[in-house]
Amino acid sequence: MKLRKMVTMGLAGVMAISMAGCGSKASDTSSNGAAASSNAVVATSGQAQADANAQAAGVMTANTDPANTEVTDKNITIGLASEPSAIWGAGNGTTENEEQIVSGAILDTLVAKDQKTGDIIPELATEWNWTDGTHLQFTLRDGVTMTDGSPLTADDVVYSVNVWKTASATSDTGRFLVGATKDADNKVTIEYNIAAPAMLEMMTMTNFGIVSEDEVNAAGGLEAACKNPVMGCGKYKFKSWNQGQNIVLERNDNYWNKDYKGYYKTITFTFTNDAAAREMAVESGDAQVAYDMPVSQAATFKDNDAVQTCVYTFGQVAHLWYNMTDSHPTKELALRQAIDKALDFDAIAQVGTAGFGKPALGYFEDDSPYYNQTYTAEERAVDVDGAKKILEDAGIATDGSVELTAIGLQDVNPIYTVMQENLSKIGITLKINITDTPTFVQDAFGGNYDIIMVGEYTAERYPTLLCFMQQATIDSGFVIGGPKTTTPEIDSAITQLIQETDTAKAKEEAGALEKTMKDQCIVSNLYPEMKASILAKNLKGYTTRERGFLDATNFYEAE
């Protein structure tokens, strides 16, 4: 049996790798969970700017290569982590990462977002203007043909809006919509039930892809069209979906934008759960992209010459929320402040981003137009004595008798472990409760925690911004994490921030709100979250959409 022991031990290293693989799965689900549930989620624009921290040797970032100019008959294979349950999510009210990536290539939206500058640019609409706070009018482009050959009309937009509103009524896609009216053959007004300038940016998201009623009917109705989406007017057309195996798209040679050049004739999406296996598919040449690798695992390939490693931020910052309701020790301001002082944010950022990111100094990501540096680097340094003093002054025991519970999915376990170690230094016991997604969601809804880590996607001031402290969402009970309580002042400040039409003023308002949050120590900002992919060596044109989702249509091969 000695032999067996040795063999097993000798392979411990290899096992470590695949452990990381398991971690990746967990993080997928977690971002799903957070996305689907915290209202913050149906997100929007992606971040295009290169993250300086990610520019380590051998690592590239997204949205930096010039556009492709060549057209070939080649195929590109993109390895996704899992198979979506549908391709057209807006049609059946689902929002899955993989579904967004596939449908993003098939459907065009009214407006798009320049991932380099963050500007809203024309797509199917050439012009737009707010007629009032809740009515947004779009002027449609001429000469756009749908998959079935018919031209794009205002009726198609009205139909699409109705589908979003009804089929996705319970998701962020549909719940802010009142409806759409055809103003002219090429003019449509969409009405929202909330005044928020960010609704324009939201219209760039994949879920707001335009389809025509005729196409949906031809595909067999709404339900069938979700799985057989021969429709839209995007850069690629749906070709086939071999369940369990792959989804194949084909270049739309009739695409309205003649400036766009699709390098690959077909795009094949495959589904491989195991991150290491996904990466090896790229290394072997079976695939060109291994999408959504755990950052820690992707980092191990940065010196591998056979592949390229792509690491990027996507407009989401991880936050640590304190439950401030009765019966939770974290109701005490002093305890929250002590925790904030005791946490080693450098170490947490290191663990959370595999060394690519730095601690967040504000609630928004630092390249957001609404970013305020609320904390100084000094304030983020560990201060055990200061933390202890706060506890002593407040009469809180530091003998380990104060016990806090943190809940999370498997992927946050390493971060909680760092926190556990930090807090033990000030005599606070942290109990880490790692569960599966449904249990986590239930506990997070019900406030069954003292502290909880959640990321919020804040590329724009969506109606869901800071939903953790919006009275309405707290009342509904369907918010993942947060303090579970708020004040009328904070609530109205959030509403004001969402509705502010002037960007510069919005930044100021955000700063003021963050000041309040800092004074009351409602949240501790952790680090900008990151995504990573592994690419074939000569592959160029890694671009993203909202939430850092891959835009599969812009890849090309270097000469």
Binding site: A169, T272, V441
Partner: protein, 322 residues
């Protein structure tokens, strides 16, 4: 024989009732409202109530259970919460995929294992015997996913002879089969070796030698078939076990199999898929076991008497000639 088969098939009923009852019980105690999972977290309470009513989740568990069993009797295993497709329709192609991989894996494992076991038994206590032991233990000790990743590294990344994942290319089946098959070698080797050694020490082997039979024929005609009886038993068990147990391998190789389907369904709290998957696997298991038992009769004629007589032993055995 016919009566015996019927009896075995009737055994399915309590098994299926038991499996479904356990999963139904789990469903009531685990957190997560299926209606909310279908509708998403922004659904209003009314919408959720409506969905619960539609799914029949508001009825007492017993009523839900009876209704489900009724459906199963008509071949209706319910619809997946995730995709809305009938569970049976989703599972059957996956079952086929897993079945092919399982058969291949068991064939590879059994073939190599039996071969090594025979070699090991014939060369007992020599260095060859020890080498075989080391090889087979190596594969058993290394976890499946490590074997999988190493296989990908060697055959796909370095040699470019097999696809890394997926089964669109039939070659894609090879690595999953190897990955499940190789670790089982040790088991077959061990059983074959000890069984061979035992059989080779039997009196009838000496009888065969006394007839002037060659060692080769003794090994393959006299010993092997007898030695295969415990091995066949083991093959039968692993056929059943691995059909639903290929989760790790299916994950690593991106194979749409039934093991991964059920595990995914569990993480998604997709109860119709969990239940349907478990029941269908239970049925497959019972059928496989039955087939294995029938196959046994072909190897070991002694069993025929027992099985045909339905337990009434010796019924056909003739009394000793006076």
């Amino acid at each position: 024989m016919f009566k015996y088969i019927i009896k075995r098939i009737l055994l399915l009923i309590p098994i299926m009732l038991g499996v479904s009852a356990i999963i139904f019980a789990l469903k009531t105690v685990t957190p997560g409202d299926p209606a909310r999972q279908i509708l998403g977290n922004n659904a209003t309470q009314e919408q959720i109530e409506e969905k619960r009513e539609e799914l029949g989740l508001n009825d007492p568990v017993l009523v839900q259970y009876v209704r489900y069993i009724g459906g199963v009797c008509h071949g209706d295993f319910g619809n997946s919460y995730r995709t809305g497709e009938p569970v049976l329709k989703e599972i059957l192609p996956r079952l086929k995929t897993s079945g092919i991989i399982t058969l291949g894996a068991v064939a590879i494992g059994a073939f190599l294992g039996i071969l090594l076991g025979i070699i090991s038994a014939l060369k007992k206590y020599t260095w060859i015997d020890s080498l075989v032991l080391v090889i087979s233990m190596f594969f058993q000790s290394v976890p499946e996913f490590v074997v999988g990743l190493v296989l990908i590294l060697v055959f796909a990344v370095k040699l470019h002879v097999l696809p890394t994942s997926g089964i669109e290319n039939p070659l894609g089946y090879i690595m999953p089969m190897l990955c499940i098959g190789l670790p089982s070698i040790a088991n077959y080797t061990r059983i074959t070796r000890s069984s061979m050694l035992e059989v080779l020490g039997e009196d009838y082997i000496r009888t065969a030698r006394a007839k002037g039979q060659t060692e080769h024929n003794i090994t393959y005609h006299h010993a092997l078939r007898n030695a295969m009886i415990p091995v066949a038993q083991s093959v039968g068990t692993s056929l059943g076990n691995s059909i639903g147990g290929g989760m790790v391998v299916e994950t690593v190789f991106g194979v749409p199999g039934v093991g991964k389907y059920i595990v995914d369904s569990i993480t998604q709290r997709n109860y119709p898929s969990i239940l349907g998957g478990a029941l269908i696997i239970a049925i497959v298991l019972v059928v496989i076991n039955l087939l294995v038992d029938i196959a046994f009769v072909l190897i070991d004629p002694r069993l025929k008497t027992t099985i045909i007589a339905g337990g009434k032993k010796q019924k056909k055995a003739k009394p000793a000639a006076a």
